[in-house]
């Protein structure tokens, strides 16, 4: 069926993008969130504001600047060109970079709040029990911040699935590479293929709902274990 030929690559691409960005963001965001929660440096507030920026900026502004940055005149584009990698715009990698920037605050903030909610006490107790800072981080802080990590994963995954403005600016609508579900639905609506638009939207609605339900279940089970 023609719909599945068009829609399936878009769905697969969207899931790949969302999965990769939320996974990578977990690794990138955790140290940043840890630093923000523990430090008393004068850089804390400016860096926190910088990280929150993608939350506030319109996605089209973000997409526009990412496009400029990735182009041969931009600093990242210049770097990739000199390394012989060409430009990253209109590629999956370019979209991934866009997603990482776009969803960064959604990953950093929940984890940061989870670390802050923990307070200094557990770490102090761990220190009295001879745990090194690294050991304390992995065996005390991280497990206690699990709900925050879960929230961060869910939020960045969901946010990337819904990403539209950024993709529209830097994607180029290449099937299999940068044509994600949101731009596919947009394309259907624009060309008056309302039936396909309904179908694809319904599929994504159902999928997102089930994912969030499942993750909610995981969270409540985790909370039960703690009490």
């Amino acid at each position: 069926m023609n719909f599945f030929n068009d829609a399936w690559p878009a769905i697969a691409l969207t899931l790949k993008l969302a999965g990769l960005s939320s996974g990578m963001l977990l690794i990138i965001a955790t140290p940043i969130a840890w630093w923000l929660s523990q430090t008393s440096s004068v850089w804390r507030k400016p860096i926190a504001a910088l990280i929150t920026l993608p939350l506030v900026l319109p996605p089209t502004v973000l997409g526009f600047y990412i496009l400029v940055m990735l182009g041969p005149q931009g600093w990242l584009g210049g770097l990739t060109q000199s390394l012989g990698l060409g430009v990253l715009s209109f590629s999956f990698t370019g979209l991934l970079i866009g997603s990482l920037i776009f969803s960064l605050p959604f990953a950093v903030q929940p984890i940061q709040y989870a670390f802050e909610a923990m307070g200094k006490r557990p770490l102090e107790v761990a220190a009295t029990l001879r745990a090194s800072p690294v050991d304390a981080f992995f065996s005390v802080a991280l497990p206690l911040a699990k709900p925050g990590l879960l929230t961060a994963t869910v939020l960045s995954f969901a946010h990337t699935i819904g990403e539209f403005g950024v993709v529209l600016m830097i994607g180029g609508n290449i099937p299999g590479q940068t044509r994600v579900v949101s731009t596919q639905i947009y394309g259907y609506v624009e060309s008056m293929a309302y039936e396909q638009a309904h179908l694809l939207s319904a599929v994504m609605l159902l999928f997102s709902f089930l994912v969030l339900l499942a993750l909610g279940q995981l969270k409540s089970r985790h909370d039960k274990v703690l009490t």
């Binding site: 182009g71 041969p72 430009v87 715009s89 209109f90 529209l168 180029g172 609508n173 290449i174």
Partner: protein, 257 residues
């Protein structure tokens, strides 16, 4: 007892204020809504300025892809006049009952241009298309923008479509296609002549004006839409577009008439 009078006076004042604000909002919102195809944004801004000065009427221009406007108009968008980038969309709107019969006319005939920001990159015969010197070619979405459809037609007439297809990057409209090339994210792109030529001279970069034998002519038609049916401003604008002074302005941007 006086508090009652105070209350009434305050209510009256607030009501008057609210009414004034509403009225001023209405006054501000007046101004004929005109939908203009992206490729014509340059000329239209100048034409609108001249029209506003000469007639005293105000215009509110919206730029975008013709296909986009078609969908919006069909769903009740309040545009009074549409300046499309093709001749099919105005016909379809008349057929669907959203536009006034017999009001469509050609306001410009567009030319497709292969453009690059780098001077000396595009040769005068378009041979660059056969080479491997470029990684990406930007076009407007052929389903929504007539210039995009003309680009695809040109490539397939040249027998290069299959070869270049993996390098194609689709922009949502011709303005975005231009932006991709202007920011050098795409080394080449098919844009409208009016976007890169001014008074017959190329503004920057290098270009190949695609011969009109390679694609169906891009007759750009304007049409009076239902919201503008009896609007004197809409009718005045349509008449203005047919005058010689408007036509010479349009020609200076590289359109044919």
């Amino acid at each position: 007892m006086t508090w009652r009078l105070d209350l009434i006076r305050r209510l009256q004042r607030n009501f008057a204020l609210a009414l004034m604000m509403l009225l001023s909002a209405c006054v501000h919102a007046s101004g004929l809504q005109v939908a203009v195809a992206s490729n014509f944004s340059g000329p239209m801004k100048i034409i609108a300025a001249v029209f506003e000065k000469e007639s005293g009427h105000k215009l509110r221009l919206a730029f975008g892809a013709t296909g986009q406007f078609y969908a919006q108009i069909r769903n009740g968008a309040p545009f009074a006049v549409l300046l499309a980038a093709d001749d099919e969309t105005p016909q379809r709107l008349i057929r669907d009952g959203h536009a006034v019969e017999d009001s469509a006319f050609t306001y410009a005939t567009g030319r497709l241009v292969l453009w690059s920001k780098k001077p000396g990159f595009v040769d005068s015969k378009g041979e660059i298309l056969k080479s491997d010197a470029f990684a990406r070619l930007a076009i407007a979405n052929p389903k929504l923008a007539p210039y995009g459809a003309a680009a695809i037609e040109t490539l397939s007439k040249l027998g290069l479509l299959e070869r270049i297809a993996p390098k194609l990057v689709e922009a949502s409209n011709i303005a975005q296609a231009f932006q991709f090339v202007a920011s050098e994210n795409a080394a080449l792109g098919f844009v409208a002549m009016s976007q890169v030529f001014e008074n017959g001279v190329l503004k920057e970069g290098s270009a190949w004006i695609v011969p009109n034998t390679l694609h169906a002519p891009i007759h750009q038609n304007a049409v009076l839409l239902n919201p503008g049916k009896n609007d004197p401003t809409a009718l005045a604008l349509i008449n203005f577009l047919k005058t010689e002074s408007a036509k010479s302005m349009i020609r200076s941007f590289g359109y044919h008439l």
